[in-house]
Symmetry: C2
Subunit: 300 residues, 2 copies
């Protein structure tokens, strides 16, 4: 029996996504060179493509074709990139570095960085609604999926989580508040990445519910793993350079509330939940298994 | 023959739109109180609702029902509001006042203002793709309209125009560049407001082309009128307080390149083009006529 090679899988899918992202972005080049360069720099500055790979993996499980999955996978990465660019601005986290490179606003200035984030978010919806997508998928399904994406990215998801995170900065918070923030700020987009793949791939309602639970556990696990890396000063937290930044800021993190050991135990538990939900899919779910293990094990 | 009362029409439609906006925003209240308040403050701080009224007026001309038009009309206003909030941030125009009131970031802080803008943009797409819309309109039409909105708001429209505006700040530009910026920064969303109304209302391709030209002329006229008010220091420019702000910044404006008299002449000419395009619709187009006159005459 051959062992599934998750590293190779991640590498191949990342390459597929990078090519598609580059192709989509190029269409913007004619409008504003500076803005295009800022968008391109943001999208191609070392992201691991977790969200879009998750969409492909969940889609493939149900026989979804890459051609149908890629616009949605890439839209998720555009949304993720915009959130990073805005997050690094002085108005929010004021980070000069991201993944060891200069943040967008340090290269292009705050104004262009702000606009590049705005353009990437808008472009995500432009991409999902393009004629090429509508021709090959049921328009009603496209709208439902787009609606889920908007929910996950908006006040009921990512942006809402960021706002509560900002509001509670410097306060003593309990673990329920930490989970509330994590589930929205990071979890919503990861959950949606898995759900959207499954939906485009044609999952039955029952299978979608399994993928939904897998995605919920994975989303929370991802943020706890990030918190742990941050606490250890490994620069993993939100992929920042620097040491234990969220700790310095007194942001709500898992280890700061329940400690490192309990955080790791929770992470192990979430991984087991993830694996259990997709157990019955057998070998076909190896990519989803590998993704969950990769997310968790970097922090253990 | 009774004379059409445009002031009353604008007042009634504004009231309809305000109620719908309030209703949609309320759905966000449960997620983050602070963010909701910042979004609500932005949306209800004195906007005249030109864009959504234009959508209603263009839709009504072809028999479109308010219930079908309002989600798109309101989405346009959410997009317009987000652009104003981000525009006022220190990263861009650094304005403390907007329409005589404190700018969003002066009340809620830069971080929440940034996120409120992000949330409003996302909410626009959430609103257009909601199940209530998909149930009453052909999903394919909804996607096409949503795609137009994303184009008008993104790098090919508003944000692209803002970027070029920012890049050329302080430079000597010719009238072609000024028009390029105006058509995108302001024109695209106004054009799309008219187009979307007509499409939801069920305009024929031929009628849509007329509305398209009306919208193009109106969009450019709107920005030239704004430039003229700005140059006169009437605080009309982008609805700002203050005197001649865009002039102080050496931003590309119509009067600064061709002078006040030529700008006014161009405005008159654009109004005549607008009126000519909708002439054959007779009395039914009185609201579109009244809107064009209102936009232009404030600057003459």
């Amino acid at each position: 029996m051959s062992v599934f090679d998750i590293q190779n899988y991640l590498k191949e899918r990342k390459s597929l996504i990078d090519r598609a992202l580059d192709r989509y972005l190029r269409e913007s080049k004619k409008h504003s060179q500076t803005l295009y360069r800022a968008m391109h720099y943001g999208v191609f500055s070392g992201g691991k493509r977790l969200r879009p790979i998750l969409t492909l993996a969940a889609g493939e499980l149900f026989g979804g074709k890459h051609k149908l999955l890629l616009p949605f996978a890439c839209a998720l990465e555009l949304i993720h990139t915009y959130s990073i660019i805005h997050d690094d601005l002085p108005a929010l986290d004021n980070d000069d570095l991201r993944r060891g490179e200069l943040a967008n606003h340090k290269i292009f200035g705050e104004g262009i960085a702000l606009l590049a984030g705005d353009a990437l978010l808008t472009e995500a919806f432009h991409l999902m609604s393009r004629p090429q997508v509508v021709q090959v998928l049921r328009p009603k399904l496209v709208l439902e999926v787009l609606h889920e994406m908007a929910h996950a990215a908006g006040i009921g998801g990512m942006v809402g989580g960021q706002a509560v995170d900002l509001e509670t900065e410097g306060q003593d918070v309990n673990i329920a508040t930490v989970e509330y923030i994590h589930v929205r700020k990071t979890g919503a987009l990861i959950l949606t990445a898995a759900r959207v793949g499954a939906r485009i791939g044609g999952a039955t309602p029952k299978d979608l519910r399994r993928i939904n639970r897998y995605g919920e556990f994975l989303g929370l696990a991802f943020q706890i793993a990030d918190d742990i890396l941050d606490a250890k000063g490994h620069g993993g937290g939100r992929e920042r350079q620097g040491e234990g930044r969220d700790g310095e800021r007194k942001k709500a993190t898992y280890p700061s509330v329940v400690g490192l050991a309990a955080s790791k135990a929770r992470l192990q538990e979430l991984l087991q939940h993830c694996l259990k939900e997709i157990e019955l899919f057998g070998k076909d779910a190896d990519p989803l298994r590998g993704i969950a293990r990769t997310v968790v094990e970097r922090a253990l």
